[in-house]
């Protein structure tokens, strides 16, 4: 059976930056899983072989964790750098330098995974437009309206096994 990871990341304390947390919850609800208010998500749907993970940011050692998955869906926020409110793309290998920070992109993580595991999972990035980034766990009204669409996309992808 295909093993899948739905991997959201962002800062759930910074309003729309944490939109992936809300998207994961919506997908988990649709799949009959329990959700809680915990800002970290790490749970498994053993029947469908889908794991759900939400972390504050991507870090290099996560590349090692990717080796057990056939498919990974990254879920993130964006600030309008891409035109679509819910942007979908396949993640390509690549490295993006972040000179002052600990920032790591899905492409970079995938490149690390490719180098150490000699294999990469099939990937999808679903990036949802964020509008407000204050100190709150509640989404802005504009971003809230995008949750359903993002969840629809992920559900369709999950069902394409």
């Amino acid at each position: 059976m295909v093993k899948t990871l739905v991997f959201g990341y962002g800062n759930a304390d910074r309003q729309d930056d944490g939109v992936a947390w809300h998207v994961l919850h919506e997908v988990m609800r649709r799949n009959g899983l329990d959700v809680s208010d915990d800002l970290d998500i790490e749970c498994s749907d053993e029947v469908n072989q889908v794991d759900y993970l939400f972390l504050l940011q991507l870090t290099p050692e996560l590349a090692d964790d990717l080796k057990i998955y056939d498919r990974v869906c990254f879920v993130d926020a964006h600030t309008g750098a891409v035109p679509e409110e819910v942007h979908v793309e396949k993640v390509e290998l690549g490295f993006q330098k972040s000179p002052f920070t600990h920032h790591l992109t899905p492409s970079s993580l995938l490149s690390i995974a490719d180098t150490i595991n000699h294999a990469v999972p099939e990937t999808l990035l679903v990036s949802v437009r964020g509008y407000e980034f204050g100190f709150s766990q509640s989404l802005s009204s504009k971003t809230s309206l995008l949750i359903e669409k993002a969840a629809d996309i992920i559900m369709n992808w999950l069902n394409q096994k």
């Binding site: 990341y9 962002g10 800062n11 759930a12 304390d13 910074r14 930056d17 800002l39 970290d40 790490e42 972390l55 504050l56 940011q57 991507l58 870090t59 290099p60 050692e61 590349a63 090692d64 993130d76 926020a77 964006h78 600030t79 750098a81 891409v82 942007h87 490295f95 993006q96 330098k97 972040s98 000179p99 002052f100 920070t101 600990h102 920032h103 790591l104 992109t105 970079s108 490149s111 690390i112 180098t115 150490i116 990035l125 990036s127 980034f133 100190f135």
Partner: protein, 475 residues
């Protein structure tokens, strides 16, 4: 030639806004370079009104790289404010978690952030001068490096129940004892972690020898140094007194961290949102100091574990026993501390109290305020809370390592820019050296942010009337 201003600005989404401005003279030399940071005060406001016992769970969300430091500093402030000093086994377990944090953070910095510069070269093609390029150049080493960070994370996960934001330390102690199986699982990774770090130190020493010219002209300047020590001025990362030494190595102060406000003041510059802490008695800028690995290895006279202590002795000889002023030796100091943290994991796991169930002091003797201080990987971290009669937080003061090192980062950027940049035709390698001056301090600027797409460096060249001459964007 017209005087110009060069701006290096990484575009980030929330709090990680920092940039470098380099002002050029008419003759093409650097007049002055500035490092600007947006201060992270919003989180302090966010905490007001929360219960004291919630703080160790809230404050780690400042950061995804050093959450454990905030978690533990917050718990320590909670111990003070509730008048509940933890039992010894709880302190040991907290320290063990802190070692995991130090190992993963320092390991990531050396291999993934500094390593590409050191191993592949400052002037290497930026397309390969990154962790992936490093992996391709030496796959075996870098797999071990990933494992080193993973081991540190695993210590945190075993104790805290989750890999990033632990739920472990609470005011008065911790909420979970260590089992024998968990102890053995941690010990299983000890030898490999030690060997990987020894290898890293060899790489660092080899690089330093081959690049002595860079080491000796790259942001070398005097300052004070600041860090926690145990009795005998022994390196300490979890709990001790703060020792402050001057640029000549002589002790200026040693004090209880709870009294930090008696010794530290903060200076404001018009060109940065981040304040500049300094030693009150000497004033600004005479009283500026450096924290983090370089600060700690300079303030400490010895290390409690043998391998790290031997390395510290070598470190002390870099400047004939006086404080080591070379910014690039932050990397050496960081590896010495990594070695200490790994050795200390074994020491802690061998302690007879480490698996005790006496992990929580439930007595309460509340006070109106409490201070928790810890040595985060990148420097001294201070959490100071004021509480009302309902045990709600009324006010929070956080001084983070990046703040302590603000002056040092600015000075390093200025020094490197003046040393390496001549005229407006700035090469990628020159630009990378300026960035490396900041990277050496391992600042935490945008740990909580991420962004789809590119995170470019925008380099703006402006004339003396601030008109934009050209823009260079580097991905």
């Amino acid at each position: 030639m017209v005087a110009e201003k060069i701006t290096i600005e990484p575009v980030t989404r929330i709090e990680g806004h920092a940039k470098v401005t380099i002002r050029m003279k008419d003759d093409g030399t650097v007049d002055h370079a500035y490092f600007h940071v947006n201060e992270f005060r919003g989180f302090e406001k966010f905490c007001e009104g929360r219960m004291v016992f919630e703080m160790p769970l809230i404050t780690p969300r400042i950061c995804g790289i050093c959450p454990v430091s905030h978690h533990l500093a917050s718990a320590k402030a909670g111990d003070e404010i509730l008048g509940a000093p933890p039992p010894r086994p709880a302190s040991l377990l907290r320290e063990l978690m802190h070692m995991g944090q130090t190992i993963q953070s320092h390991g990531m910095h050396f291999f993934e952030l500094a390593g590409p510069d050191l191993i592949l070269g400052f002037d290497a093609d930026p397309a390969v001068r990154n962790v992936v390029g490093l992996l391709q150049a030496d796959p075996e080493l870098t797999v071990k490096a990933v494992n080193l960070r993973k081991w540190g994370q695993e210590i945190i996960r075993i104790l805290g129940g989750r890999r990033i934001h632990p739920n472990f330390a609470i005011p008065g102690g911790v909420n979970k004892a260590l089992t024998k199986d968990e102890r053995d699982a941690i010990l299983a990774g000890y030898e490999e972690a030690l060997e990987t770090t020894k290898t890293a130190l060899k790489i660092m020493y080899g690089w330093a020898e081959a690049n002595a010219e860079d080491i000796n002209k790259f942001a070398v300047f005097p300052s004070g140094y600041f860090g926690l020590v145990k009795p005998g001025n022994t390196l300490e990362l979890y709990n001790g007194d703060i020792r402050l030494i001057g640029s000549d190595g002589k002790e200026l102060e040693k004090f209880d961290p709870r009294n930090y406000l008696d010794y530290i003041a903060e200076h404001v510059e018009s060109w940065s949102y981040l304040k500049f802490p300094y030693y009150k008695k000497m004033g600004y800028p005479q009283g500026v100091y450096r924290v983090g690995p370089l600060g700690r290895c300079n303030t400490s006279e010895k290390i409690a574990t043998p391998l790290a202590d031997a390395e510290l002795k070598k470190f002390k000889q870099f400047n004939g026993g006086k404080p080591v002023e070379n910014t690039l030796h932050f990397h050496t100091a960081r590896l010495i501390e990594t070695l200490y943290a790994i050795e200390n994991v074994k020491v802690l796991l061998d302690d007879a109290d480490i698996m005790s169930n006496d992990i929580l002091n439930t007595c309460r003797d509340p006070k109106p305020y409490g201070v928790g201080v810890i040595e985060a990987p990148r420097g001294t971290l201070i959490h100071h809370y004021w509480m009302n009669e309902n045990q709600q937080i009324e006010k929070v003061n956080l001084i983070v390592a990046t703040g302590h090192n603000n002056w040092a980062m600015s000075e390093a950027v200025d020094s490197v820019a003046k040393t390496y940049i001549q005229g407006p035709d700035v090469t990628e390698g020159m630009l990378n050296r300026v960035e490396a001056a900041i990277r050496a301090h391992d600042p935490c600027l945008s740990c909580s942010t991420h962004a789809i797409g590119q995170m470019p460096i925008i380099l703006e060249i402006r004339d003396s009337s601030d008109e934009l001459v050209k823009t260079i964007t580097r991905d």
